[in-house]
Symmetry: C2
């Protein structure tokens, strides 16, 4: 890979080089640090929106309509669809690769499914770096879309400035688990498929949870109803995003959120570097294998082993 050419291509907004750059950070290619060093100073210009929710909640459809509206307003939009199952499948969400055919010839839209395997710093790190690439390429808005509410997805959403949680009425009991977590990550709650009968009930439940949630009185996540399939309510979502953006820029909050994002990224890179360069030198594969075998035979327990090994940290 000719790093200089890729850098120039990204800065000029050329799709082909943007894709190469994102592949490089996604795969943790040896050129990735050099690339990111050069692109970093040109980053920071986009408003990053994270969208999460359960499978089938309609995130892709919502994203599709958001892109249409933003394009109508002349904004350049990048979309990253993160598939947390891909470390195992080795692929990415198939549907995403084809789903936005109508934007295919529009250079103001860039859509990318991300596998985020093998990246320094885990599944969210590749996403963060891909945002850096898209920002350097001059996109005004970046939408990160991911499935689920596990730690990975929460990390991914936390790389955004504005986080949206998409809920669907009548999804069953497990949704309680999601609802308990969303207040922590959602700057904006979307009830999609809001033409379903259980909508009012979900709305009431969310309002109650928001009333109970600890708040500094500064930002109460608005609840927006959509029927994304029919494009209904999308303008309300955009308005709520704009309001949150305005809120962030209205005082020091925006800066503090950015510092938090940076702290998170440094810590991730730092951990990853330690994992990769430091730890193997302190515990060899042979030692690990032998310990695992003794543990499997119940001849040794892991907790004493780790205590003994930890002493190496002080040498």
């Amino acid at each position: 890979m000719d790093v200089q050419r890729v850098i120039e291509g990204v800065l000029a907004g050329r799709t082909r080089q943007i894709s190469r750059a994102i592949s490089a950070v996604e795969d943790g290619a040896p050129q990735a640090p050099e690339l990111l060093k050069a692109l970093f100073e040109r980053s920071g210009g986009a408003h990053v929106v994270g969208i999460t929710g359960a499978p089938g909640a309609g995130k892709s459809t919502l994203t599709d309509h958001l892109v249409l509206l933003l394009r109508g307003a002349g904004r350049r939009v990048g979309v990253l669809a993160v598939d947390p199952t891909s470390p195992f499948s080795g692929g990415a969400i198939l549907g995403d690769r084809v789903r936005m055919d109508r934007h295919f010839t529009d250079p103001g839209v860039y859509i990318r499914s991300m596998a985020t395997r093998g990246t320094l710093g885990g599944v969210s790190a590749g996403t963060y770096d891909a945002v850096t690439v898209l920002e350097a390429a001059g996109f005004d808005e970046v939408i990160i879309e991911t499935v689920g509410v596990g730690q990975d997805e929460i990390d991914i959403v936390n790389t955004a400035h504005t986080s949206i949680v998409v809920l669907v009425p009548g999804m069953g009991d497990d949704v309680q688990a999601i609802k308990a977590g969303i207040l922590e990550i959602g700057d904006l709650l979307v009830i999609n498929k809001a033409d379903r009968p259980q909508t009012a009930r979900l709305e009431t439940e969310l309002a109650m949870m928001l009333d109970l949630a600890p708040s500094d009185g500064a930002w109460r996540p608005p609840v927006v109803k959509t029927v994304a399939r029919d494009g209904e309510g999308i303008d309300d979502v955009l308005e709520a995003i704009a309001a949150h953006r305005q809120f962030l820029s209205s005082d020091e909050r925006g800066y503090l959120k950015e510092v938090e994002r940076c702290r998170h990224r440094i810590r991730e890179l730092w951990k990853a570097a330690a994992m990769e360069r430091l730890l193997p030198s302190l515990l060899s594969d042979e030692e690990l294998e032998s310990a695992a075998e003794r543990m499997a035979r119940r001849q040794a327990e892991p907790y004493s082993l780790i205590e003994k090994l930890s002493k190496r940290f002080n040498s």
Copy 2:
């Protein structure tokens, strides 16, 4: 906490002490290593079944019926319901705490929702240690139930001997993402709500995927249809679990799988110990804060910073 008393209580199978022990490992209490050292040699006796799937797939209902059947066969059953959103909500799945009322007075059943925050080694580590506690307490079967298909949940399911992925017909496009990942983690695929019209289609799709999957010819994950709500097909699930257990014990595979579980656990503990004891001494809070602030102002980029810091590993 009187560690000796808790240890004796767990070994005697007393519910109250089991709960205290699991709380200790869940919270990463200072007594946890001492507790686990003592319990470890009495562990390893249960068959651990992991159940995962999207929210609303019916995992809780399926688990409930499995517990009923296993109890009917005189087996003692422990259930761990892991809520991956809880690092943020600080709580656990509300419904689980109340859902199995009918087992409440049965000492042969132990049900526990786990938050797994703050545990050494991340979200799956607490689960692994809780299994150790339940095994030491003499449970014959342990069921780990979790939501979703992210890395956390896959790690959790990988602490099981037999992993079940629960699917539902007609759940929408994102389910493709799940399906791509499940072949890697599912020893057994359950189509729940199999009275829905799209059942045959999902069945065909799964069969095709299984045909395409790389296989050493040894174990092809069976596809079992259930209507968990009505208790239909649960006996088939139990039979498939038994068949997989038999398969594991029929040659060296069971032992190798156990070694893999142990290797995973040691590596997790080792990483966690490094994070906790080693890394802070190499990067102070003040350094991190100052770096994050410069990065937020785009005065510094993180990749050079990490390169410089990594040199400390060689000192």
